[in-house]
Symmetry: C7
Subunit: 98 residues, 7 copies
């Protein structure tokens, strides 16, 4: 699904994934109230983090990966009728490997 929206710098465009209750192999997060992190799929990534020395460090997270990120992180946007979230890579705490 190619999307005509390019996150800038060290930001990622995410599609939220349901906080599944119980799945055979997925994440179990019944009590979302307890500040548990949220899950999302990476739709697009920025060009990287601009460093003080002028270099750009590419992001480690890849398009298509599913990630865990801080509950209150990021900015919500709507594009072509769908909701997305733009977060900084530093807000991503882990990658869920399939």
């Amino acid at each position: 699904m190619s999307i005509k929206l390019r996150p800038l710098g060290d930001r990622l465009l995410l599609k939220r994934l349901e906080d599944e209750q119980t799945t055979p192999g997925g994440i179990v997060i019944p009590d979302a109230a307890k500040e548990k992190p949220s899950r999302g799929e990476v739709i697009a990534v920025g060009e990287g983090k601009a460093l003080d020395n002028g270099q750009i460090r590419p992001l480690t997270v890849k398009v298509g990966e599913r990630v865990l990120f801080g509950k209150y992180a990021g900015t919500e946007i709507k594009h072509e009728g769908s909701e997305y979230l733009i977060v900084r890579e530093d807000d991503v705490i882990a990658v869920l490997e399939s």
Copy 2:
């Protein structure tokens, strides 16, 4: 449209774009109250961000691109009867690719 106003450093001069409700391919932001980011077109860009090591890093956003930026970012100005906004590149979260 050349404008006789040059933003300084890592700043951009933007012309606000309407927060369209629904468009075939544009951004849908009905509930502006929900802190959704704003949209604008880049009219002029500064020479770049001055780094601690003396280099100037050019901006990645180009004149003519449409961008998403933080709702409360920037400073409003009026020039030749039109309203503009001056924001720092770091306030721009994504570029809308046509």
Copy 3:
């Protein structure tokens, strides 16, 4: 126990260890109320800390080591029915050598 969850950057995935009361050679932390640090086992480690100069500095803590970390550090997550904690390496104050 391989787990399909990769902590990002300078973060560690920990499994909490009981705050044993008294053991022949273990840690004695009877009055947990006195802000004593918590204990955990390292399940997975991130790729390292991204430095300003573009380098990645590997973490010093290894998978399988038991560590002491600040009582309020980290983010709790649930994965495949088990509780884990994701902390930054800087929150780890010591390694318990067997």
Copy 4:
């Protein structure tokens, strides 16, 4: 108009320009109350910004240019009966090109 007052470092000496209401080609800022930036002419510039690596980076703004700067920026001084303002270059958001 040479003035015997040399701003230090990354500072500029400005002469405030009237916030013209409407001019054929000037800036229109009728509702000054809405935090719109102020305008001024650059009278003198400091030697540049001292960087951590010991270099001095010259300022980009030149004597004689007209600039837009933050409403509350700078320090007011009086010299030979006239009012001036001393601001840091970082407070200048744009240059008005004639």
Copy 5:
């Protein structure tokens, strides 16, 4: 007037100058209440500002120069019956050239 007191690092030893009301060529600061900067003469200067890279950057302000500095800057001291002020060079906003 040599004084047996050496300011340290990026500090200056100043002798306050009267906030003259009106002089043919001097500074006019009638309403001191309006936070106008103060004036002083440089009596002694420190060896320079210690930079993160180990270098010492000499100060740009010279002994004997008259300067403008922030109203609330510096520390007052008395030495051999006279009052002086010790300020950091960064608090000096301009040099009054005779």
Copy 6:
């Protein structure tokens, strides 16, 4: 006394020393209430402070040395029935040379 607990990074493992009242050559700290620093013996030291440039700077304080450190510094832990303190080297203000 070798202890199976390795402090991490720029941290030290200390054993608190009594705040002796008066000793022929020791420290006299009768009024502990007056925020006087505490004393301790260095039991173990971390590998060093991780610098921004990727280097690790070894600690200057050695195992076996007696040190003065800030009254409220560090985290208390219990290990094999004994109380210890883990502090950052920057909290140590002086070394007591025998």
Copy 7:
């Protein structure tokens, strides 16, 4: 007077000097209440300030020099029945040259 107490890093060990009222050539600080800085003699100096690049920059203040320092700076300690103060070099504002 050699003392068995070595200040760490960029710290100095000072012996407070009386805030003399009036002396033929000394410092006059009658109204100590007016936040005037305190005076002290340097008894011992640390090895220097650890810089981000791994270097240690030696201190500029020498043993035996008399210095002016901020009124509320430093930590008080008692050693062999005498009171001392440990301050950071950055708290020292000037050296009194005899």
